[in-house]
């Protein structure tokens, strides 16, 4: 194949990638989009295999077979609640692959059609691709540990922020040192292994240091941010290898992650910079202040069943507590009973209801909840006022009316307007505060009834009550 044919094949693959993402604009076209993505990837891979002409082909097939089998097994077995961990693990692989490819490019630029020794322009881009890749790798490993709850085995994986004095200064000093060695690598006339490895080593350390101070509540932002980094790393490698397809694919992924980070920050009312600086969520799990003074009306699952069975419309607000209790299937069963009785049932999803963007939608889809019953926050907030019963399952901060009060720590955070429903049912395990460490006035209102207990147990009891 000539260089032009290869470039054209890569162009076609790039178009397939764009169409793949375009398909995700609706659940109907999404599956076709995924297939287009696979076709693009196959085209890119086969074209590349054809141009390397023999050298080491056997080894490459073996590596692909091993990697592909691991990926297939993991994709089949992973639980939907574990998606955030899986995605973090996959980001780390992209990051590490970028570092390895960069090192191989320093070793033998000719293999990539780049002159040996590598021109300074390509070196600058290689430097960027390498350090972003290295930060993505170690950062994602830490994020994976935090998400998988490995904190009790290894302190750096703790979901509580790991902070120490002078942390930000240390990070800044390391970043500057890293850039210094990057410049040394950039200016050097030969292969310059020493500055390359020192710079890469510092980038690995930085990846750990920038993720450890970020608390569990901010993980949806972190995971989106690392998604973005993995794309920029791929784009950086594409620059240094003069490969347009890598640049296009990397940019698509990079902008996707950046947009998701923005959406998550907005939904949590957090400035991106303060998420990055970390330390938030330290008060997680502390008992609500003033809980003793106010009275809470609590009721049984049977009471809840009675209220909902006699309602005209019910909106279910699922939070992460629901997923932890694996209660999605029980909730769907409950909704089926209610629909049978002529009750209009809808679900209201806050953007940070799960542990990653869109997580709750997938968890509900897994429980076979029809997606036309599931509504995003903006689309359903106006409906609470005309709703008889709002059932809050394992959510707290995202329904906290303190968000409307000036001076409260969560003032301005977009919330679900549960407070406007005629009756509010709240299921929680206890009166403990949510991630923000705040008390929730919703729980003390006259129209609110608390149903304490494990979400799955409570919903199953409600189902019994409906029967």
């Amino acid at each position: 194949m000539s260089a032009n044919q290869v470039a054209l094949a890569y162009l076609v693959a790039s178009v397939f990638f764009i169409l793949a993402l375009k398909g995700l604009s609706s659940p109907v076209s999404a599956r076709r989009g995924n297939v287009l993505g696979m076709i693009g990837m196959a085209l890119a891979g086969l074209t590349t295999l054809m141009i390397i002409a023999g050298g080491g082909l056997m080894f490459i097939f073996v590596a692909m077979l091993i990697g592909g089998s691991i990926g297939t097994v993991v994709a089949r077995r992973v639980q939907m609640t574990q998606m955030p961990e899986l995605v973090a693990a996959m980001h780390s692989l992209v990051g590490m692959a970028a570092v390895l490819i960069a090192a191989a490019a320093v070793n033998n630029p000719a293999a990539f059609g780049v002159p040996d020794p590598m021109p300074t322009g390509n070196r600058l881009e290689l430097f960027i691709g390498t350090f972003v890749g290295a930060i993505t790798f170690t950062g994602s490993v830490i994020a994976f540990g935090k998400l998988a709850g490995l904190g009790k085995h290894f302190r750096l994986f703790s979901s509580a922020p790991v902070v120490f004095p002078g942390q930000h200064w240390l990070n800044l000093a390391l970043a500057l040192t890293m850039i210094g060695f990057g410049v040394a690598f950039f200016l050097s006339p030969d292969k310059a292994w020493t500055p390359f490895w020192i710079m890469t080593g510092i980038a690995f350390a930085l990846g750990v240091l920038i993720i450890i101070p970020i608390g569990g509540a901010d993980m949806p932002v972190v995971i989106s941010m690392l998604n973005s980094y993995s794309g920029w790393a791929a784009a950086g490698i594409g620059f240094s290898l003069n490969n347009s397809m890598l640049i296009i694919a990397g940019s698509l992924v990079g902008s996707s992650g950046a947009i998701l980070s923005y959406i998550m920050c907005k939904a949590m009312n957090r400035a991106f910079i303060s998420v990055i600086l970390g330390g938030f969520g330290a008060a997680e799990g502390t008992a609500a202040a003033g809980a003793g003074q106010q009275t809470v009306r609590s009721g049984s699952a049977e009471d809840a069943a009675f209220l909902m069975a006699n309602a005209e419309s019910v909106i279910i607000v699922p939070g992460y507590g629901l997923a932890v209790a694996r209660a999605q299937h029980a909730v769907r069963e409950m909704a089926d009973f209610l629909i049978e009785k002529g009750v209009r049932v809808r679900y209201a999803i806050h953007p940070v209801a799960g542990r990653m963007p869109g997580h709750m939608n997938v968890l509900l889809a897994e429980a076979e909840v029809p997606y036309d019953q599931v509504f995003e926050m903006e689309d359903i907030n106006g409906e609470f006022g005309t709703t008889d019963v709002a059932l809050v399952l394992g959510a707290n901060d995202v329904v906290n009316p303190l968000a409307y009060e000036k001076g409260s720590p969560i003032y301005g955070m977009p919330i679900l307007d549960v407070v406007k429903a005629r009756t509010v049912l709240v299921n929680k395990r206890s009166m403990a505060a949510g991630y923000a460490g705040l008390d929730n006035p919703l729980f003390y209102m006259d129209k609110t009834m608390m149903v304490f207990g494990d979400a799955k147990k409570v919903v199953e009891d409600i189902v019994k009550g409906l029967e």
Binding site: A13, L21, K22, L24, A30, N34, G37, G40, G45, T48, L49, I51, I52, A53, G55, G56, A63, M64, G67, S69, G71, T72, V74, A75, M83, M90, L93, V94, A97, L100, I101, A104, N107, N108, A111, G121, G231, A235, I237, F239, L241, N242, S244, L246, I247, A249, G250, S251, L252, V253, G254, S255, S256, G257, P357, N361, V362, A365, P370, Y371
Partner: protein, 102 residues
Amino acid sequence: MGGTVDPTVINLVVFVLAVFVGYHVIWNVTPALHTPLMSLTNAISSVIIVGAILAAGVEALDLGSTMGLVAVGLASVNVAGGFLVTRRMLEMFRRKERKGDA
């Protein structure tokens, strides 16, 4: 104003245009599919496997090609895992669709 355009400049042109395309395409993705979006973008960023194949595809088995091979393996995990897990999730969204029709 003579001579050829430096490849880096061409790369920059491609990059800026691709970011614009990405920005517009991603804002059109429905929020319900943000998790599949992440797994799909993960699979797409593994197109970095192209670089890994080039690194591994040289005659001599040395430091560079060994790293290339490892990178091929890592990226393959993502290619297979990313597309398959996305398909698995999207299938879940489809089942409802049929039920809704019935």
